[in-house]
Symmetry: D2
Subunit: 224 residues, 4 copies
């Protein structure tokens, strides 16, 4: 499905930072928000082609109800889902397409794919990961750095820097005696995630029912 | 074949810069040079397991004779081969394994493979290549930059910087509205090539007769 | 003056992108906006300690009137000022402090100072500048790249890349036969400028009357 | 003194890695080695304009004798000098110019000067240092990283990576909420040090008697 199609969207968590970013980005494509939900706020005017949920686990029951009511596929980026939450989403995926991911940034998912496929080419190379984030970030190493390390399937030292306002930089360094290869990802802003969410929404609209990750969205995007 | 095996090598162009680098690196593995050839110099003491040629096209006839005499496979990095030279090598490959490449650096070949496989993931991203080399390098853009661009199968602007003593840096930059992905390769020294030559030598020793590129060496290395 | 002091501000161009960024940033320090002006909008409730103008040359007369009316110093980042505009600002600076600059980013001004002071240390090194900006930027090379080159007082090749959403990256590369020194600046967001504007505002409030550039703000900040 | 002048050199430690690098580099300027010393090796054919010592503390007595015998200034990069060694060098500096340093790389010394002069400009910025070296380097953080931190006069986290054959990379990162400034130094090879040694030799030849560091060499180079 071309990215230039206009979508009628449902948006759960429409007042949150990601909710606002999603609306701002989607609107540039002429998308309309026919269902908008946030704490104490409901705007329901039409059937959505897809429902997007970036809110919190407590909203999940209501979100699932809306998906069933409208037979709408779901794209969900809510963090902190527990086993039971995930089980409910998998149950929902028997009726509609569900895309669930904790990271919708297209580029970071591409980097993960590269590391998974090419990690073994670097088996005889030394490796390390450096990740840089703003000074408000509390966890170290970042979840993304751990994900990247896991995608390599080997142990690597991770250096975490917390400085200023850096939105998010991850660099994987490989070196042998004669060469250095670096693969780095820089997130410029929340826009990175909105781009991936819209890609996932377009995927979900035409996917068969089932439970999908962002990886399925990514792979599908290059096979069409 | 483990990289720790010792090899009996033939080395054509043993006095050249690459010849000396190859000897220096191979020797750290206990390899011996039983056949050494350069202009006005011959040292022939035993049958080589493999013959390595980093000399010039004029030496090709002699190199091919040695390969046939000893039934030794060939690894050849000589530059400036013409059609007829290549035809003769292909003819030789009906008897022994021949690995021919203009760039034996492992990392740059890995980067090329990554770009070939993942280039289409970046179809909707902007892209550019920046390459930096020492101020003695005369051509711009570098042959490697052109090779990398071709492996992407799309047009990209290439910026060439010529400064100081930089041995060789290539960076491919992709960016969309929210993210930047950079893949960069730095050659630290001629050692980069010696490492790849030894990998190719080990490959050639146990390969079936045939004509191979470094890509075959690379792919084989991760399937064993 | 400590950056933690609260300021009563005047803001000309309060609806523009920089106006909104300034309000958002200043508010985190408890600053209040007692004079706010934009096309068809006036909010005037008190004497401002300093007036900030990020609007357009057409507003200059009105801005100067406000500065005189309240005896308020001025920080002006309006672009496209002509000779006559500047003459009028210099005239105003006989009564109050005026800080005028086209680039209030603290870091880029620091980099310029470094290049001015240390440029001659690199006289025997090769040099080059690489600047990367989003694909909407029309001019190339960037004004900042030209400013950095001029601060070195020598000719340097400038490579300009226009990709995706990169807000602004400038890298100066020096290399001799054995070393590479790179000085790079990355603007993360418009916030970069708001930080400098507030520094300039605090400077202007306690400066003697006179005409100042951001350089004066910068130098003053390390001498106290 | 122009760098194109030819020098008659003394070289203590002429067989060591730095000794050979120095000879290789100096020779490209037409310099001659009229005094060469190493363990069990002496070549003494003429008075040297300057004596260069990259050997070990045990050779110091002999080196000082040669300086006195020929009234030659000294450039010494020998590591592991103790208090007594340094006292003896200071004593020698009453008769001839002595340049003593543990790091003759021009660029790293320039970076140190920049940090010393501009460190306070970054007082309100977060900072960090990342240093990358080959996997044979045993100490971490590197002595150079510690020197750079000290030149800033503030505490900074240092991340040390040990991978492959990286000769030596140091990056100082500063970031506030809106910007990132990075100053990085890459040593390409031992050549980096030979360049600085020759600069020091030319300085020593025309300096007044006295005890100098590389900083004096550096500052002198831009004042002429």
């Amino acid at each position: 499905m071309s990215e230039n199609v206009s979508i009628r969207c449902g948006l759960i968590g429409c007042m949150g930072k990601m909710g606002q970013e999603i609306r701002g980005y989607f609107t540039t494509f002429g998308d309309r928000f026919v269902l908008e939900i946030d704490k104490g706020f409901i705007n329901e005017s039409d059937r959505p082609d897809v429902i997007i949920d970036f809110s919190n686990p407590a909203a999940l029951d209501s979100t699932i109800e809306f998906c069933k009511k409208y037979d709408s596929p779901l794209v969900i980026g809510t963090t902190g889902l527990n086993e039971e939450n995930l089980a409910r989403l998998k149950d929902l995926s028997k009726s509609v397409a569900v895309v669930q991911s904790y990271n919708f940034a297209d580029g970071i998912n591409i980097v993960r794919e590269i590391l998974e496929m090419f990690g073994r080419y670097f088996d005889n190379w030394d490796g390390a990961i450096v990740e840089i984030h703003h000074n408000q970030k509390k966890d170290a190493p970042s979840g993304t750095a751990i994900m990247l390390k896991n995608s390599l399937g080997r142990e690597l030292p991770i250096s975490s820097l917390r400085v200023g306002g850096v939105f998010g930089e991850h660099t994987i360094i490989f070196s042998n005696a004669g060469e250095v290869v670096r693969i780095s990802h820089t997130a410029l802003s929340r826009r990175a995630f909105a781009i991936g969410v819209r890609k996932a929404a377009l995927f979900a609209i035409q996917a068969e029912k089932g439970f999908y990750s962002y990886r399925d969205v990514l792979r599908n995007s290059v096979n069409h």
